[in-house]
Symmetry: C2
Subunit: 209 residues, 2 copies
Amino acid sequence: MTKTKPKKIPAEERRNITVEAVIDLAGSSNPDSITTAAIAKHMKLTQGAIFRHFPNKDAIWKAVMNWVAKNLMARIDRAAKDITSPTGKMEAMFLAHIAFVADHPGAPRMLFGELQGARPTPAKRLAQSMMKQYAARLRDMITSGKECGELRDNLDVEAAATLFIGTIQGLVMQSLIAGDMDKMRADAPRVFDIYLHGISKAGDAEEQE
Amino acid sequence: MTKTKPKKIPAEERRNITVEAVIDLAGSSNPDSITTAAIAKHMKLTQGAIFRHFPNKDAIWKAVMNWVAKNLMARIDRAAKDITSPTGKMEAMFLAHIAFVADHPGAPRMLFGELQGARPTPAKRLAQSMMKQYAARLRDMITSGKECGELRDNLDVEAAATLFIGTIQGLVMQSLIAGDMDKMRADAPRVFDIYLHGISKAGDAEEQE
DNA sequence: ATAAATATAGTAATCAATTACTATCTTGAT
DNA sequence: ATCAAGATAGTAATTGATTACTATATTTAT
C-alpha cells in the first residue's frame, strides 16, 4: 500500500498549508494562472476540499497577502531594530527585504500581480496598505537621516524613498526574470552601495576598499 | 440600426491594430488574462476573425513583444543619439524610457509578464534578447563614463547597470501600482538625480540649485 | 466575378464552485 | 473507560461559465 493516506488536518493548519502552497506555486508560475486544482494537487488534496476551508478563491488570495505583509514587515522590523543610525537601519532593511524575497520568490510575484490587477480585491487593499506603511516609514527614516547629518541636506526625501523601494523592486524583477535568487543576494550589497553614495553627504565614504 | 459596420481592412494593418489593441488592454488588466475575445471586442471584431490573421495566441504575443522591443529601443537610441557625454546619454535614455512607458503603460506589463512566465515562448525569447542588448549597451556606456572621468573610478560597472535598469523598473512598477503615469514622468528626473549622485565622481555637482 | 475579410456557430478543454456522500476525529453520558 | 452522536475533513462527480481554436457561410472592395 504505497497509497498516501490523506491525513485529516485541523482547519487552521490546513489554511496555513494552503497559503504556503500558493506562495510555493507562485515561485514558478504566474500567480494569476494558479488554479485551485493546482493548489490542491500541490498539497495532496482534491480540488473541492479547498472550498471546505475558504469560501472562494479571493479569500485564499487575501490570506496569502496577509501572510506576505505580516512576515515581510516583521522581518524588516527585526533587522532594523538594534541599529541606531538611519543609514544603518536602511541598509539592514534593504538586505532583509532582499533576503526575504530570496527565501520566498513567490511572495513578490503575488504582491506585484495583485497590485497590478484592475479589480479592487480584498487582497489588493491589503497589499496597498502595506506599501503605504512601508513608504511612510522610509520617509521618516530618511528625514531623520538628514537631521543627524548622515544624508545630504538638499536630498529629495520623496525621491529617495521612491528610489529605495524602486531599487528593491528592480533587483527583484531582474532576479525573477533570470530565475536566479542567489545572484540577487550577491548583487544587493553592491547596488545598495551606489544608492548610499547617492543619498549620503559628501565625504562620508566609509564603505568600499 | 446603430450597428457599426465592420470595415474591411487589409491583413497587415489589421495585425498592427491587433497589437495596439493588446497593448491597450494590457494597460488596464493582467496581460496573462487578456482573452482573444477581449481583444476582438476592443477592435470591434468577432473573436474568430482574429485567427484569420494569426495562427494562434502565442503568435499575437510574439508580435506584441516585437513591437515593444522595436519601438522602445528606437526611442532610446533616438534620445541618446545627439549627445556626446556618457552621463548625458544615460539621462536621455532614462527619461526616454520613462516617457515611452508613460505613453504605453501596457508595454512594460507585457514585458514583465512574459519574462516572468515559466514557458519559454517565442515572445519570451524576444524579450530576453532585448534585455540583454539593453544591459550590454549600458555597461559600455558606464565604462566609457569612467574612462572620460565623469564617473567614479571605483564604480562597480555591473552594479551600476543593474541599478539603472532596476531604477526604471521600480519606478514603472510603482506607477503601474498607483495607476498614475503622470506622477512617474514627474518623479523620473528627481530619482535619476540621486542615481547620478551615486555614480558620479565627487565634486561633479552640476545639477540641483 | 473573385478573393480577401468578417460573421456565425460551433468544438473540446479547463476553470471555480457545488453537490452528495464517506471517513475520521472528538466529546459527553453512562 | 466506552461508545454512540455530532462535528470535522475529506472524496468523487458534476455544474455552468469561459477559454483557445475551427468550420463554414456571408459580405464587400476591386
